[in-house]
């Protein structure tokens, strides 16, 4: 357990250092650029603008490396992520407004893909139908070859442009009042549908294949035969015997799938103009807004790290082998 926390902290540390180096390694001097910009917009002297730029960016190029790093780490971990060059707003505010959207899309699609994928996979393993397996295999090959954003693109053409059922941009319409009211919730759901669908389609196939393979393996085990010999019902065998044994290892995959979705968020969110973390990271990178880039990059990494950590803890509790032995 302690080892896990140490690894967690170390990874966070590396994330902080990596994020720091974004500005450090960027070609060009961001302080200089910002200072010049401030001079033109605020009409103050270059010296004053330069000092202002340093505060805004959390970054003083004249200090020695370790001081810069320390300052940066201190600020970052206390929530000060600086001010975005492009949007002229607090990066932390942007992060907080964007994170829920990314979590909504990535989280929902992971869960739905997991539940449906595992069920179909279990079904396929149980039925042992050659046609079904062949269909699933072919679909898997094709789906594996299509990137999510291309699939998203097709979804837009079909559902937004042609059928005009779902909107293709944004997280919600401007015509709706924000808040916990029904019209808003429905509107949000509508806007989230296509992005979620794009992620879902590409991922559900993986779960189906995984679960099918695992379930087929388990069905060949001795304890299934023994359960049959004892006259246990099919329901018992599917849920308690195959289900429980198959799902345990899959839960760890859940974390890595979520990580992949968050990683793929920049492309999908860019395609759908969906204001999540990935969208802002993409914009920031394009506009060379280093501060915003740092904030978004760091947020993505932290989200994934914590998600992985939680899943690891969860797994350690669920698997009786680990629970009893106190961790292998």
């Amino acid at each position: 357990m302690i080892k896990k926390i140490v690894v967690l902290l170390l990874t966070v540390l590396i994330a902080v250092i990596a994020t720091f180096f974004i500005i450090e390694l960027m070609p060009g001097n961001p302080v200089d650029i910002l200072a010049k910009d401030i001079v033109t917009t605020q009409g103050i002297s270059y010296q004053d603008a330069y000092r202002k730029a340093i505060t805004l960016l959390n970054y003083d190029p004249n200090l020695p490396m370790h001081e810069k790093l320390l300052n940066f780490a201190k600020d970052l971990l206390s929530g000060n992520m600086g001010v975005s060059l492009k949007y002229k707003a607090n990066v932390l505010d942007i992060v907080l407004s964007a994170l829920p959207w990314t979590l909504l899309v990535a989280g929902t699609s992971t869960l739905i893909a997991f539940v449906i994928g595992v069920s179909i996979g279990m079904f396929a393993a149980w039925k042992k139908s050659k046609t079904l397996n062949l269909t699933l295999d072919t679909t898997a090959s094709i789906m594996g070859a299509i990137p999510e954003y291309i699939l998203g693109f097709f979804l837009i053409i079909i559902f937004s442009v042609t059928l005009k059922i779902f909107p293709s941009r944004g997280a919600y319409s401007t015509s709706v009042d924000v808040g916990f009211n029904l019209p808003f919730i429905i509107d949000v759901a509508k806007h989230a549908t296509l992005p979620i669908l794009a992620f879902f389609i590409v991922n559900v196939v993986n779960w189906i294949t995984n679960m099918r393979a695992t379930a087929v393996n388990i069905l060949g085990e001795d304890y299934i035969q023994y359960a049959n010999a004892r006259g246990l019902s099919n329901k018992d065998i599917i849920f308690k015997y195959v289900g429980k044994n198959a799902l345990l290892p899959m839960i760890t995959s859940l974390a890595s799938t979520f990580g992949m979705l968050v990683g793929g968020a920049p492309l999908i969110e860019d395609l759908f103009a969906y204001p999540g973390i990935g969208y802002y990271l993409g914009n920031a990178t394009g506009a060379r807004d280093a501060v915003l880039m740092q904030g978004m990059f760091f947020t993505i990494i932290i989200t994934v790290i914590f998600c992985n950590f939680l899943v690891e803890l969860l797994y350690g509790y669920i698997d009786p082998r680990l629970r009893r032995k106190g961790g292998h």
Binding site: Y149, I301, V304
Partner: protein
């Protein structure tokens, strides 16, 4: 000497026989081969194009097999020209990923102890932190405008899975008898690595190489669609980016062929990689091999495949 060459050849022969026994793998292999030929010979046969705005966005015709793009250039020729960049990037990404993964995996597995702990911690971090955002940031910091550098960047974050697998395999092999035997005979670490360990991890390497090629395409196209990769216009990813942004393809216009071409190309390439990798997996799986041919299949002796590479100095045995 002749005998040795014959030996080497039969190893490769067996290998291809099995690939072709599996239809899926055979198809995959053939498609890949077509792409490779296209990439190698295409740019030699076809000259770089000149813009001809008068003829832009035309439908497919006898003169222009897939129509023309937004600047009047022949779509098909663009596609063929682009294939070289596409495949070079994939190749370099694959090679670098394999190199990093193998070095880390074997070192970790063989040396063990603190080195192993540290390397595995690094691998863990690389595995946890998602690939694409890192690439986005890297593309900004390092401006890679040639295929080798770009391939290198792509490989920086893709080796973790391979390293783990190789480490696991190395560790399980470490304790096997034949390695003990080599050690007793006084063979140096180098010999052990090349002759005992490498042949056993070739299946992982082969499969992983193809899969890295596949994912590198996805990643590079993704970066191009976001406008983050400084590449010139024939790479399929750039074709796609241009199609999406400049010609309003999203709204459905006459330029759809121009849009479809890179998409189909990308999807076909990925598909062929996937199918071929399945074939490789089977080719190295002894259980499947025996059941297919019925007779006792001679275990593919990978040493000839490998020994051909090192210049024979350790051949004395």
């Amino acid at each position: 000497m002749l005998k040795k060459i014959k030996n080497d050849f039969s190893g490769i022969n067996d290998f291809f026989k099995i690939i072709f026994m599996n239809k899926q793998a055979a198809v995959g292999f053939i498609i890949l081969l077509i792409f490779i030929l296209m990439a190698v010979f295409g740019p030699i046969i076809i000259k770089p194009q000149i813009a001809d705005y008068a003829n832009r966005l035309q439908a497919p015709s006898f003169q222009h097999w897939l129509g023309t793009d937004f600047s009047g250039k022949d779509t098909f020729k663009q596609f063929v020209l682009g294939s070289r960049d596409v495949l070079s990037i994939a190749l370099f990404a694959g090679v670098f990923t394999i190199a990093i993964g193998v070095i880390i995996g074997i070192s970790s597995g063989l040396i063990g102890g603190l080195v192993d702990e540290i390397l595995m911690m690094i691998t863990n971090v690389v595995q946890t932190i998602p690939n694409f955002p890192v690439l986005m940031v890297l593309s900004l910091i390092i401006s890679a405008n040639n295929t080798l550098a770009f391939g290198l960047i792509l490989s920086l974050w893709s080796w973790s899975g391979l390293a783990r697998a190789i480490r696991a395999q190395t560790m399980s092999l470490k304790h096997k008898d034949f390695i003990e035997a080599s050690r007793l005979l006084g063979m140096g670490k180098g010999y052990i690595i090349v002759n005992d360990i490498l042949p056993n991890i070739i299946p992982f390497i082969a499969v992983n190489f193809i899969m890295v090629m596949k994912s590198s395409i996805m990643a590079s196209v993704g970066l191009m669609v976001l406008g983050l990769a400084p590449f010139s216009g024939e790479h399929w990813g750039i074709m796609l980016d241009i199609a999406l942004t400049k010609t309003g393809a999203l709204l459905g216009s006459a330029s759809t062929v121009y849009l479809w071409t890179p998409i189909v190309g990308i999807v076909l390439f990925q598909l062929s990689c996937y199918m071929f990798s399945k074939g490789i997996e089977e080719a190295f799986n002894p259980r499947i091999r025996t059941s297919i041919s019925g007779k006792k299949v001679k275990t593919i002796n990978l040493k000839p495949l490998l020994k051909g590479k090192d210049n024979g100095e350790i051949n004395s045995m």
